[in-house]
Amino acid sequence: MRLLLRPAAALTLLLTLAAPAAEPRVTKEALLKNIAAQVIVPAHADLAARTRELAAATDALAANATAETLTAARQSCAAALLAWKRVSCIQHGPVEELDLLNKFGFWPSRPNSIQGALDAERAMDDAFIAEQGVTVVSLSALEYLLFSSGSPSSIAARMDVAESLKTFTGEAGARRRALTRAVARQLAAWAAQLDRAWSPTGGNHAAKWTAAGQASVGLLVNNFVAVLERSAVVRIDSVLELAGAPQDVHWFEGAPSGHTVSNLVAVVTTVRRLYAGGDGAGFDDQLRQMGSPLPARLDAQFDRTLAALNAIGGPMEVALRQNKPALEAARDQCRALEVLLKVDLVSALGVTLTFTSGDGD
């Protein structure tokens, strides 16, 4: 027995000395909990609030189509679009389970389908709305309804409230008002579902997500990369490819509501907040703890990217004609950010990109 006592005491001493540091460290659980509490849950709550306001504004528009009610509905729609852009950076969990990614984020809108719904002779009731696909019931369709004026290519005409109001008034406008209201209500209902699923007082997916540890880190980082690539880099690239071709604002995401650039800023800002955990513990803190120089590089790149996006200085469809170098610079900065996230961050966090299964040795 005595023979065992010494080695046991030595082992205990060794383990005590080598025990994980006593000073507060950013654990994975803590940072995930913080990201959920500071960024993800508030983003979903915000989308629910914005779409509720949108539903209320389209109710008012349906009841009385005036320049004021149309303007209010447009403002609410623009706010909801930006709120969705922020939520769209989290592409797993409830949004995937409820199959809402495409329903909310469907783009570009399909004017023919929307016109088909407007021209249909059936009553604009719940059954009719339930039968419509994402080409009619989506945020981009609602943006089209609120911002179109029959002049498809002219941004000025789209923004002209008086011109657009004509499509909402009179007998012909009744069906447009009803469709606008029905789509907004459906979007609000979906956003409320999403919000409930994440909320600690609802489905509390946040707790499940936090408990999943590295799997959630992997999902989130994969989402960063995918969203930044598809919503920013590819989006600007495809706009640049339009140079010299006939341009229709239809091909610029957010153009009808004048949010082509603020959409991108919303994405980059949200990716940054998700990465940094808002104002609390985030991946940057974990990396600093590991002695990695990556947080400083990423911070600088986020700053450069946001500065380049803001330097575009106006709608992308205008910048394409008048300030193409600014668009190219923004694309280059977004691409540099994409590479830092996709290569350096993924590697530093030991994340498996693309989540394809398979062994590796």
Partner: protein
Amino acid sequence: MATDTRAAGGRWDALLFARVDLASLAVFRIAFGLLMAFAMLRFLAKGWVREFLVGPTFHFPYAGFEWVRPLPDFWMHAHFVGLAVLALCVAAGLFYRVSSALFCVGFTYAELIDKTNYLNHYYLLTLVSALMAMMPLHRAWSLDAWRNPALRAATAPAWSLNLLRFQTGVVWLFAGLAKLNADWLLHAQPLRIWLNARSDLPLVGPWLAEPWVAYAASWFGAAYDLGIVFLLLHRRTRALGLVLVVVFHLLTAVLFPTIGMFPWVMMVLSLLFLEPDWPRRWLRACGPVEAPAAPAVRRPPWLAALVGAYALVQVALPLRQHFTGRNSGWDYAGFNFAWNVMLIEKTGHVEFSALNQRTGLRRRLDPRAWFTPRQLTYLALDPDMIRCAARHLAATLVPDERLEVLSVATLNGRPSQPMMSFTVAGDGVSNPPETVVPLLK
């Protein structure tokens, strides 16, 4: 001198032609066959036949094996069912020679379809199954021996056991040698990244985020790989070696679940280092065991040359990466087939754009239209695969277009840096340059 030569010749003769108890090899055959059957069924159950082999519209071929194509979906699945059945036949010792040879050919065929699927332990399975097909492992405890008593034997020529031991030792030793580098020993990379990623494990998780744990694991890992063969070869240290094998490989299985079958393959191979008669001794404890007479020893003159040549190739292949003067984890020159097991954390990104030389317009190609996400992940790491993808994409361009390729990667926690940057004419015949940007220290 003549005595020394004779003594060396005698040792070599004993290593090859002495008779060793067949029992341990028979148990190894059974364990390996069962493990392979499980591995094939696992491959099927995970949907990898479709995802890795049938699904991709383009496959990255090995040089000289461009003609290897996947079978249609149904037949590719049937192929893996067949491999599982063959593996069971190997385990049972039924039509052993044919079964083991067909398993080796069939498994190697599946491996050769796409470079993306290269794994060190798949390569090891090919080698081991090829060796097994040439060995008389069915002469004991097999259905073949039960059906044909004339086949029965209690012993096998020593080269069977020693060659399998050598092959196993090569894996461990070269895996250990590959770890003798600054990243592994001085920076504890990539274990620092990988262990930190597992810091959410219950109980041990917080420890895994500690830098000293990564250093300790790196040094222990290198020492284990370099020393385990010697521990297993010596009778006095064998028990310790076996305990280490089990503990080490179980730990890797828990910490790195994506390592797949590798730990189990190595645990089964470690059985070869036990005394050749260990199963018979175990069974003898349960009752008398019949030990048939040994067949006459044959000494085919070509066998020594063949074994020697095989050993030479197995040593030369992993060594070639050390003579390039570059980091093979970066440019992949000689990286595969060299037992670089769990050695690097490399992540990459590659962009393909088509530049119209007439209009000056550039369009970014979406490689997902040609390659699967898994292929994209791996091609971004391997300059050869990038060149292969570039040749394929260049052939799809319209006249006046050139393909621009830019790849960026990071190795073992270094800041990302360009790995390749080149253009290829869109004629579908031009070859991309071989230049890889040197790795910054």
